[in-house]
């Protein structure tokens, strides 16, 4: 008998748990999970957004095959995105770490500076900022004027347009910077004191104390920023006026996906792209986690 009492109270707790969870569950199911599954189904169809459902045709893996064999723009978009992520993410993290180190010292106005450096991230993916960016890199824009260059309109040059987007991403280093700052505070000061007693210079203590101590935070930022980097959309969309131009030079993966779905009415194909994207990001994240054990040190002794 006691057993069944225990069982029923557990059930009741379980029910209560689900009741409390329900807003989140409904959101997950309604907004994320079910539409996601829907898009998985659609990725095997010729869904074109406009045709009535009766005309929906299953095309098997046709969309997936097309991506890799028949669509040079797709492969180009993959290249653009990888280049963007590979260049922008390390530079952004480097900038974030560098500024975090500078702001870690307690001096006057440090608080103000922290706030100021964080500011660009608040404006983050905003459309307004991308528009400002567009103006800044114009022929008679701020960049050319300040540097005293007779430079081109950087955004209109296929060779430089992606570079301006990389700069925009780097400039928004505030979020990882704040996380780095928090991580720096966690490193016990005694370690630095001991190191200086042993005669280590600043570079050595950075290399042997700061970096290992910070590695979980670096890892966290790296994973997050990489995912973010691959998903860059707003800046590319706004800066190129939705085209990914000039000559596809800013055709980020998500932008091409959007164009396929909403401009070319190939939602089935776009869904397939989205799923390849999801799998690719999952693999990249998994690879990062598997390499993490070689270089991420957790304070509790488990590496």
């Amino acid at each position: 008998m006691p057993r069944s009492v225990k069982g029923s109270s557990r059930t009741r707790e379980g029910v209560a748990g689900y009741v409390f969870l329900s807003p989140w569950l409904i959101g997950l199911m309604g907004i994320t999970a079910i539409p996601m599954l829907g898009s998985l189904v659609l990725s095997f169809t010729s869904y074109d957004l406009l045709s009535p459902w009766e005309d929906l045709e299953f095309v098997g893996v046709r969309n997936y095959v097309r991506m890799f064999t028949e669509d040079p723009h797709y492969l180009h978009a993959v290249t653009v995105t990888v280049v963007f992520a590979v260049v922008a993410v390390p530079l952004k993290l480097g900038a974030a770490l560098g500024v975090a180190l500078l702001l870690n010292r307690e001096q006057r106005f440090t608080g103000i500076f922290r706030g100021l450096f964080y500011l660009p991230s608040l404006l983050g993916g905003s459309v307004a900022l991308a528009l400002v960016w567009r103006a800044m890199w114009a022929k008679d824009g701020a960049v050319n004027t300040i540097l005293g260059l007779d430079g081109p309109n950087w955004i209109n040059e296929p060779d430089y347009a992606l570079g301006t987007l990389v700069m925009l991403a780097i400039w928004q280093f505030g979020a990882p910077m704040v996380i780095f700052l928090a991580g720096l505070k966690q490193i016990p000061n005694e370690l630095y004191e001991a190191a200086s007693v042993d005669g280590a210079n600043r570079w050595r203590s950075f290399w042997h104390i700061t970096l290992p101590g910070l590695s979980p935070v670096i890892f966290f930022n790296l994973v997050l920023e990489t995912i973010n980097g691959f998903q860059g959309f707003t800046s590319a969309y706004v800066v190129s006026g939705g085209t990914g131009g000039p000559v596809d030079s800013t055709l980020m993966y998500t932008l091409y996906l959007y164009q396929s779905g909403f401009t070319d009415y190939e939602m089935g194909y776009a869904s397939a792209m989205a799923w390849v994207f999801l799998v690719a990001i999952a693999i990249i994240t998994a690879v990062m986690f598997s390499t993490g054990k070689f270089w991420v040190h957790y304070g509790d002794g488990s590496s």
Partner: protein, 438 residues
């Protein structure tokens, strides 16, 4: 559930009705002109129609006023108006349609009409034309027919429009350069543009490079007896397109047209970025009716001419259409509203040339008599002059045109930036555009 079941019943009923009406229509078609019938009176129950269009604020204002006129005549009908700028309009319309919330009546252009009609989104208006609810008898025949796709009337033209080269008249005079004229060949036009750069002190180029503009390529092809689209494929050969790209590569080399980065700015289509507005070139390749919009963005006096080459390559083209969603629950009423908008002289006067030259010729005449704005007058005079020169209209661009149009921009730019040779680019365009059209 109940609702869904209901709508299924209605749609079945609609299908059944549609099936029944086919023989009737066929019977009507036999005797040439369908017999004049009077449509059944419309319900006077209160009803709200959703209307969606793109445009600037001035258009929003004049459209709302026009719809108010309708409400004044039919107090039971009210409107839920939504409008936005051109950019993103079709994304929104597609999303609304996909979600089953297509507006009862919406504005569309001939770039998208096939995309929607071939996918059966738009209501076939032929029965309404036959029963008289939709009256296009005062339209030039080629103009209302330019709304037909696969034999179905998918949209009603709001007005007539033509591609036009908008040029800076004032600066021509200041630089002592003759104004360009309709009928100049492409070669003459480029030669006309060449000395501008030097004469303006290396500040202004003679002409925009329209090699990424599908309208220009289309016109150029038609002047050689070819079409941009034929049987749902690109109607030009690789050699044709190569020649087209070469023509403009040469113009850039001679300094008649600007460098790639400047052209790129204007290729986006934004009126404020057009070179005739930014002062980087004397001409822009646009639509003739856009002259009113462009004029608002510059202090210089503008003029308009046809695209170079023989103007008989042009045709009475619908500036834009109104279409009714096939899923609308208020189809008859929506058609009646369109009929009012395109045939009412009062609406014509409200709109001027904003949606093209009024499709109804009586309205057009009435509007012409009341115009006061000099730019609108210029546009009207140009279009009236062109009307006498029009050639045969081609079919409406097929499904896939939107993508082909975007491909032309990307690929023509690759030539402009020197990233590809004309021949390779032409090859790529034909291959990819055909894939998009197929």
């Amino acid at each position: 559930m109940h609702r869904a079941a209901m709508s299924q019943v209605t749609s079945r009923r609609a299908l059944l009705l549609g099936a029944l009406s086919v023989p009737v229509l066929a019977a009507c078609g036999g005797g040439g002109e369908p017999e004049a019938q009077t449509p059944a009176p419309l319900s006077t129950d209160p009803v709200e129609l959703s209307v969606f269009w793109w445009g600037a604020e001035a258009r929003a204002k004049s459209t709302e006023e026009a719809l108010k006129l309708y409400t004044a005549k039919n107090p039971n009908v009210t409107f839920k108006n939504t409008w936005q700028g051109n950019q993103g309009y079709f994304d929104k319309l597609a999303t609304l349609t996909a979600g089953g919330n297509a507006p009862d009546l919406f504005q569309i252009d001939d770039g998208a009409l096939s995309e929607y009609a071939e996918r059966n989104v738009t209501l076939d208006l032929t029965p309404y034309r036959n029963n008289g609810r939709l009256d296009v008898s005062k339209f030039p025949e080629s103009l209302w027919k330019y709304g037909e796709i696969d034999g179905k009337l998918a949209g009603v033209s709001t007005g007539e429009n033509t591609p036009g080269v908008i040029y800076n008249k004032q600066l021509c005079q200041e630089l002592g350069i003759a104004e360009p004229k309709t009928g100049m060949s492409w070669a003459e036009f480029i030669t006309w543009a060449e000395p501008v750069y030097a004469k303006s002190g290396n500040k202004v180029y003679g002409t925009m490079d329209p090699s990424a503009d599908y309208k220009a390529l289309w016109m150029w092809l038609r002047q050689q007896g070819k079409e941009l689209y034929k049987d749902k494929k690109i109607g030009a050969s690789k050699e044709d397109v190569t020649k087209w790209f070469d023509l403009w590569a040469d113009a850039r080399k001679r300094g008649a047209a600007p460098t790639a980065d400047i052209i790129h700015e204007a290729n986006g289509g934004d009126v404020t970025k057009q070179l005739v507005v930014t002062g980087k070139a004397l001409t822009s390749f646009l639509w003739a009716n856009q002259i009113t919009d462009v004029q608002k963005n510059t202090k210089q006096t503008l003029g308009v001419m046809a695209y170079p080459g023989n103007p008989s390559a042009q045709w009475a083209r619908a500036a834009m259409y109104f279409s009714v969603a096939r899923t609308s629950a208020k189809k008859d009423r929506a058609v009646d509203v369109i009929n009012f908008l395109v045939n009412s002289p009062e609406v014509g006067k409200l709109w001027g040339a904003d949606r093209g030259l009024s499709a109804n010729l009586d309205v057009r005449k009435a509007v012409a008599d009341t115009l006061t704005d000099p730019t609108a007058k210029t546009a009207f005079a140009f279009e009236t002059d062109m009307a006498g020169k029009f050639g045969q209209a081609p079919p409406v661009p097929p499904k896939g045109h939107v993508k082909a149009r975007a491909l032309l921009i990307t690929i023509a730019e690759s030539v402009q930036y020197g990233k590809a040779s004309s021949a390779d680019a032409a090859d790529q365009f034909i291959k990819e555009a055909n894939a998009a059209l197929g």
